[in-house]
Amino acid sequence: MTTTTVGGTYISLSTSIIASVILTIFYSVMIILLIICLIIAVYQIHKTIKAKKQLQAITNDKRNSTMP
């Protein structure tokens, strides 16, 4: 049987092809997901800064309204 080494382990060529296909799929999915998450994270930081400003404005309003 034709064999190849993957990480120092001898495995059959067909197993190696299947493994590399599965790995490629997982890596591709991972990269796509990471990019999606990165976009979401950037959007999130923008929204968080905006929300913080809004909260500060509300806190200031409250402070002013309780002033004598």
Binding site: G8, M30, L33, A41, Q44, K52, L55
Partner: protein, 339 residues
């Protein structure tokens, strides 16, 4: 005038506190409904002992069997005669303008069907578990602030609405674990908005033990999944469904990459440029979480240390993920629900 409904199950000790927070409100004409949901302690006696003050009428209701939160609220809601209603938990304390703000928000736009408050944690807690929950609640407030005009859940801690809307949607569903999420979906489907009002501040107590935390979160996760399967994919549930889908896909991709990649790479991790993406992601999330500290009520140095050192919150997150998986498995393999 406004009605406030407080369902209570074995809340002895919290009745007086709730009554006090209502009498301290700037709004002075309130119909206060306490519903004792088959308590086995002195809750009902404590409710009956409450004085009737000027402007605040106390109604003491009692259920014969345990109807849980939804059933207890429905019992009172059917007796409400006012236009506006607030549902809140026993033991919750409110900032003195809370009811006034709730009415103002509902009056500001007839399309608003539900208004929920900020959910703060009371100052009196101690320990790591308390602080982790405090930070977590602040994160939830932050996400509510971001989705201010379309919150996913108008929580049971403090939600205000109009009586006519509740009649229209058939009140709370009594067979759901997460009756507040279910009500939010129903109100949105009826064409109303569920909004968050950061001016309304409500404070609650955290659960004290890990066992209680597991029970609470398990109910939240499983209850959320029940709502999603009840209503399916719709405009009201799509955000939550997308979140679950992204989480599960990510989880499988990470596990697959670890198992296959790690095994076939002789159990070694080799650096590739692709790793810059998760590093960037982690950095952005870290910065976001530091900015999010602004939403923590009564922020202390200990809270900042916990957030800045990452590890405690990371472990807490992993712990909650395990509870989430318990809920996923229960959703797949069980049908019985216990509140």
């Amino acid at each position: 005038m406004i009605s406030v409904i407080v369902p209570c199950h074995n809340e002895s000790g919290n009745i007086q506190k709730t009554y006090q927070t209502i009498t301290n409100q700037t709004l002075k004409t309130i119909q206060l409904y306490f519903v004792d949901d088959a308590s086995t302690d002195t809750t009902y006696a404590e409710i009956q002992a409450l004085p009737q003050t000027k402007g605040i009428t106390v109604h003491a209701l009692k259920t014969e069997t345990n109807l849980y939160r939804a059933g207890a609220c429905n019992l009172a809601l059917k007796q409400v005669t006012t236009k506006y209603v607030v549902m809140m938990d026993a033991g919750t304390t409110l900032e003195k303008h809370a009811l006034e703000h709730a009415i103002k928000t509902l009056e500001s736009n007839p399309n608003i069907g539900l208004v929920c408050s900020k959910a703060g944690i009371e100052k009196n807690g101690k320990g790591l578990l308390y602080r982790l929950q405090k930070l977590e609640y602040a994160n939830t407030d932050l996400s509510r602030m971001i989705t201010q005009n379309n919150v996913m859940i108008s929580h049971g801690l403090f939600s205000a609405t109009r009586k006519e809307i509740l009649e229209q949607v058939g009140y709370y569903s009594e067979n759901m674990l997460l009756e507040d999420y279910d009500l939010t979906v129903k109100v949105k489907q009826a064409g109303y908005l569920a909004v968050f009002s950061p001016q309304i501040q409500a404070y609650t107590e955290t659960v004290k033990t890990v066992k209680q935390l597991i029970k609470q979160r398990y109910r939240w996760f499983l209850g959320g999944l029940d709502v999603l399967t009840k209503y399916g994919y719709s405009a009201e549930t799509k955000e939550d469904i997308f979140g679950h889908a992204l989480y599960l896909t990510f989880f499988m991709a990470i596990m697959g990459t670890l198992i296959f990649g790690f095994t076939f790479n002789n159990f070694q991790i080799t650096y590739t440029n692709i790793m810059l993406i998760p590093i960037a992601l982690a950095t952005i999330n870290y910065v976001t979480s530091l900015i999010g500290l602004a939403f923590v009520e009564n922020l202390t140095k200990k809270d900042v240390v916990i957030r800045a050192t990452i590890l405690p919150e990371l472990l807490y997150c992993i712990f909650l993920e395990l509870v989430r998986w318990k809920a996923y498995l229960a959703k797949c393999f069980t049908k019985k629900r216990k509140w």
